[in-house]
């Protein structure tokens, strides 16, 4: 079982896909000799050649659009948005085309594409390179949205996203790339059963914390702090944001009677507000012992300066404080 960073785990998954699916290819900016802005595609050009590792000009609209056309004609594209912020330049192919064609054409076509991109803040990359736009895509019927948080689920979720017959937006938080752990290099599955399944990171009885992406790691850090010793916390990593595994969340909340959601993205119309809305509308709502709470990023573009950036993003200390208040 190799020890891999998230970047290497994704690289392994891509490599495996390219090896086993001759109709697969990847496309994106600087994914060839440069190896991708975050090193994720390193070495793939050498192994698979220019025909399948398509280094593109800077043209996100075309990158996503070509994926749609290729997928409609029996190719299996995985494309990269260098920073997921640039996905806004590719909204038409993703939102108006990929998401809708299967339904709109009465099931006549499938658009099995994976659009990967580096999301999130924490590197001082400022307002146009630090966003967490995942909830935009959750809003669109027809798209699946996946957010890994560690090497193993990055590897597995990418394989499952690849075999899913739908367009998948796969958001990789920049701060997870260097996280290292042992990874079981599972085979490519025949179906995408992992999508839509949350993972219970740790079991507990006093409070349920729901999170996703890198914030799962921040929460883990928070709950290991001495200040919280004696509190039994159930931590759920959603992994897939759309469709969302509410069953796991509601089962947990029914047991703990308390719900805290932690995310880096701002709160308005977000993943966290959807989780809470679903719990409030469920029969378990009446058994809650306190109001559900959402810890989110501030409603502000990401500032560049470090001290401002950490003000906007929820920190470990913020989470510890809220847990103490709630339990």
């Amino acid at each position: 079982m190799p020890e891999l960073t998230v970047g290497q785990a994704i690289n392994n998954a891509l490599s495996r896909i390219l090896k086993e699916y001759p109709n697969s290819f990847i496309a994106g900016e600087d994914i060839g000799i440069y190896g991708g802005a975050f090193g994720v595609t390193e070495g793939l050009l050498k192994t698979f050649g220019e025909e399948r590792i398509k280094d593109t000009p800077i043209a996100e609209d075309a990158i996503a659009g070509l994926a749609v056309g290729a997928a409609m004609t029996d190719s299996k594209p995985i494309v990269e948005m260098q920073f997921s912020d640039f996905i806004v330049n590719a909204m038409d192919p993703i939102v108006n085309q990929a998401a809708k064609l299967h339904f709109m054409y009465g099931g006549a076509v499938n658009v099995p594409i994976v659009v990967r991109g580096a999301s999130g803040a924490g590197t001082g990359a400022a307002a146009q390179h630090s966003q967490s736009l995942e909830s935009w895509f959750c809003h669109v019927p027809g798209l699946k949205v996946v957010t890994p948080s560690n090497p193993q689920n990055a590897y597995d979720l990418l394989l499952h996203s690849f075999v899913d017959p739908n367009p998948v937006i796969f958001m990789e938080h920049k701060l997870i790339y260097k996280i290292k752990d042992n990874v079981v290099l599972n085979d490519i599955p025949s179906s995408s059963e992992l999508l839509g399944k949350a993972n219970i990171e740790s079991k507990g009885n006093d409070i349920t914390i729901v999170s996703y992406s890198n914030m799962v790691n921040v929460v883990k850090d928070a709950i290991s702090s001495d200040e919280l010793s004696g509190i039994s916390i159930e931590l759920i990593d959603l992994q897939t944001l759309s469709p969302m595994d509410m069953e796991t969340v509601i089962t947990s909340v029914s047991k703990t009677k308390k719900l805290l959601v932690c995310q880096e993205a701002p709160a308005n119309s977000s993943v966290g507000s959807t989780v809470i809305s679903n719990v409030v509308q469920s029969s378990t709502f009446s058994s809650l012992s306190s109001a559900p709470k959402l810890i989110s990023g501030l409603h502000s573009p990401m500032p560049s300066a470090k001290h401002l950036e950490t003000t906007v993003i929820p920190q470990k200390e913020d989470i510890v404080k809220v847990i103490k208040d709630m339990v």
Partner: protein
């Protein structure tokens, strides 16, 4: 057209200011004083200096992620730029924008932009304002060779031409968009030919010849205002440093980089030319010392200034 001595010295001074400003940033970065990354224009100073000094204060520019030179060229204070990169209250954007997003409206800089080709259509809108408001100024839109493959580049050129807008598109062709050689990324004859295909008069110039840049931009500006047509310049230049701080330069050879440094450096070349024309080493040394002093005092002042407050970030997201 021979430039007067004062203009020549000013061009030299500006190139030195840009270079030393960015070298100071590199030094600060290596000392761990800067958060995030940055895109340095070392080697490309002639384009920024020549183009900006050919404009007047009321002409506008839009800039790119590699925008320190444009910003200084348009008259920004180094102190406030250092302060911005250091997250200080006195920074141009109060530490919220950083290296990639400095705007300096007081000097006609509508802002650097982290989105490749993000400012092309913005420059068209600003030029439309000038046209509607009957102002005799132009908008100079800086962008890289990488930007010409984005759809918005084409939308911007088409509109500027259709509507006869006072905009000068200036492509800084440093021959790479990150790791992608423009040769491999740009179909067709050349970048300048893309301007022509939209009916815009387009020229290619040596972007490392500061006087050529200055004179081309001056002439283009006059023609834009008299003929009421946009113009397009492709300035060929070269970036010495990596694309950003994490670049390992795997896509080009050190011979290539050294060739440009040794044979084509815009500052070295210009010093040679000025000395031939009778400007003395003493004249140049005096300028260089002044610039060094400016950089030194600006860095110190910025490091001593107070951090930007963490309050009002949400409130300030709206006007």
């Amino acid at each position: 057209m021979a430039l007067i001595k004062d203009t020549q010295l000013e061009l030299h001074r500006m190139m030195m200011l840009i270079r030393l400003f960015e070298e100071a940033l590199e030094e600060m970065f290596s000392r761990g004083l800067l958060h995030g990354t940055m895109h340095l224009s070392i080697g490309q100073e002639a384009t920024a200096a020549g183009a900006c000094l050919a404009l007047d204060k009321k002409d506008l520019i839009t800039s790119t992620h590699r925008g320190h030179g444009h910003c200084l060229g348009k008259g920004a204070e180094p102190y406030k730029m250092f302060a911005e990169l250091l997250g200080r209250e006195d920074g141009y954007c109060r530490g919220r924008g950083g290296s990639m997003h400095i705007a300096d409206l007081s000097n006609g800089n509508l802002g650097a932009n982290g989105i490749v080709a993000g400012s092309l259509t913005i420059s068209v809108g600003a030029a439309l304002s000038f046209q509607l408001q009957k102002k005799e100024n132009i908008v100079l839109c800086f962008f890289g060779d990488g930007a010409v493959n984005e759809g918005s580049f084409h939308e911007a050129l088409n509109l500027a031409s259709l509507w006869n807008l006072p905009v000068l598109f200036l492509c800084e062709n440093n021959q790479y968009g990150m790791s992608m050689a423009s040769e491999k990324a740009v179909a067709g004859e050349s970048i300048a030919s893309r301007g022509k295909s939209y009916g815009i008069e387009s020229i290619q110039i040596d972007g490392n010849d500061v006087e050529a840049v200055y004179e081309s931009v001056s002439t283009c500006k006059d023609e834009i205002l008299s003929n009421k047509r946009p113009k397009f310049i492709e300035a060929v230049t070269y970036r010495y440093r990596g694309h950003s701080k994490s670049d390992r330069n795997l896509y080009r050879t050190s011979e290539e980089i050294n060739f440009w440094k040794d044979e084509k450096d815009p500052i070295k070349r210009y010093i040679g030319k000025l000395l031939e024309q009778g400007i003395t080493e003493v004249d140049l040394k005096k300028i260089d010392e002044e610039v060094k002093q400016t950089i030194r005092t600006s860095v110190k002042k910025a490091l001593d200034s107070s951090l930007s407050p963490i309050t009002n970030l949400e409130e300030d997201s709206y006007a």
